[in-house]
Each structure stands twice: as structure tokens, then as C-alpha cells.
């Protein structure tokens, strides 16, 4: 199991850039890094996924160093609506062999005015 470690909570203000780092020291060769966002009373929502270097979409950027033992989710210019729990997942399978994609307890991001 590719264990991930991320901060329990973070606070920010509107308009700031937020970086949430996840460490995954025992990531395997086949593992991808995936981030989800969850609002209260809703199911998680896929944000971004990457294997190495940098990935960017309309919502966020994902930075992955060469050793892949950590990753950073970057949210540009956050707003109040970005207040949510963010999950970092590492793995390549759901069941069976290989590292399983597993949701941890996530990082609670709170954005204030």
C-alpha cells in the first residue's frame, strides 16, 4: 500500500495561491498520483492526475519532482468556494495486485475573506 501523508488542515485567504503537499515515499513505478476535492454532503470530485513533472488543467496544477516521492497540488487564486477537503491518492489498481488507490483522511482547506 502506497501510504500518503498530507497536512490535516490549511487556512488561506481569497486570492492567494494554495499549495498542498503530499508525501508518498514508497510510490511504485506503475503508480499514478491523483487528487480529489470533496465538499460537505457531496461525493469527491476528480481534480487532476499525473505521473511525473508538471500537469495543469483549468482547475489546478500538479507538481511532481523527479524522485516522485512527493507531489504538490497548486490552486491559483483561491476563493471561498474552494473550501473543501482535498485527497491525495497514489496507486495503480483498485483491487488485486499493485498499490491500491486509497483515500486517506485528506486536507481540510479553509478559505477566508
Amino acid at each position: 500500500l502506497a501510504k500518503t501523508t498530507q497536512p490535516i488542515s490549511m487556512d488561506s485567504y481569497e486570492g492567494q495561491e494554495v499549495n498542498i503537499t503530499c508525501s508518498h515515499n514508497n510510490i511504485a513505478t506503475n503508480d499514478y498520483i491523483t487528487w480529489y476535492q470533496q465538499f460537505p454532503s457531496q461525493g469527491p470530485r476528480f481534480i487532476i492526475q499525473g505521473y511525473k513533472t508538471k500537469v495543469t488543467n483549468e482547475v489546478a496544477s500538479l507538481f511532481i519532482p523527479a524522485d516522485r516521492k512527493s507531489s504538490t497540488l497548486s490552486l491559483p487564486r483561491v476563493s471561498l468556494s474552494d473550501t473543501a477537503v482535498y485527497y491525495c491518492l497514489v496507486g495503480d489498481v483498485v483491487t488485486g495486485g499493485g498499490n491500491k488507490l486509497t483515500f486517506g483522511t485528506g486536507t481540510q482547506l479553509k478559505v477566508e475573506l
Partner: protein, 113 residues
């Protein structure tokens, strides 16, 4: 837009009852998943289905069974509900080529008394 719907948002059942939770997706996804989410424990996979009539146990299958008779529908069955099955139940689906990008339903909050 992918839509995953779950039959109920809130459900209250008595100990020993047989409980059916239904999930329907409209994007012709091959994969479907059932998770439960509990405070401090994150999301835990109960069962996974990668095709009609096919299923695999997740991390916590005890006390649950599933049924997938049609591609778009995945049912979770609690054979004899117990109080420790009080939880938020989340259904998700994804394309066969990607278990990383899962689309979640809104969840069913089940209370067993």
C-alpha cells in the same frame, strides 16, 4: 456531464433489516464502485465491478454483497443491517481504462437503529 445518481440521500433502517442501495450512471462506464465514508477513516472500498455480473471485493466487504445485472446499475446490499453499518455510502463509476478518474454520486446517509 457524467451523472451518477443514488436512490436515496437519507435512509433509516432497523437492525436486522435487508437494505438495498441503488446506484445508476449514465455514461456507459464499465467500472463501478461502492465506498463507505466514516469520520477519521476516509473512504474505504467495499466492492468494485468492472463489468456486468463481475465483481471484486474491496477492503471491507464483510456484511455486504453487490449486484450488477445491467451496465448502468450497481446495487449494494446489506444482508442484515447492523448499527456499525451506519455510515455515508458513496457510489462511483469510471471508464475501464482509468480507475483514477472516478465520478461519484451524492451519497446515501444510512442510519441503522
Amino acid at each position: 456531464d457524467v451523472k451518477v445518481t443514488q436512490s436515496s440521500r437519507y435512509l433509516v433502517k432497523r437492525t436486522g433489516e435487508k437494505v438495498f442501495l441503488e446506484c445508476v450512471q449514465d455514461m456507459d462506464h464499465e467500472n463501478m464502485f461502492w465506498y463507505r465514508q466514516d469520520p477519521g477513516l476516509g473512504l474505504r472500498l467495499i466492492y468494485f465491478s468492472y463489468d456486468v455480473k463481475m465483481k471484486e471485493k474491496g477492503d471491507i466487504p464483510e456484511g455486504y454483497s453487490v449486484s450488477r445485472e445491467k451496465k448502468e446499475r450497481f446495487s449494494l446490499i446489506l444482508e442484515s443491517a447492523s448499527t456499525n453499518q451506519t455510515s455515508m455510502y458513496l457510489c462511483a463509476s469510471s471508464y475501464s481504462g482509468s480507475v483514477y478518474e472516478q465520478y461519484f454520486g451524492p451519497g446515501t446517509r444510512l442510519t441503522v437503529t
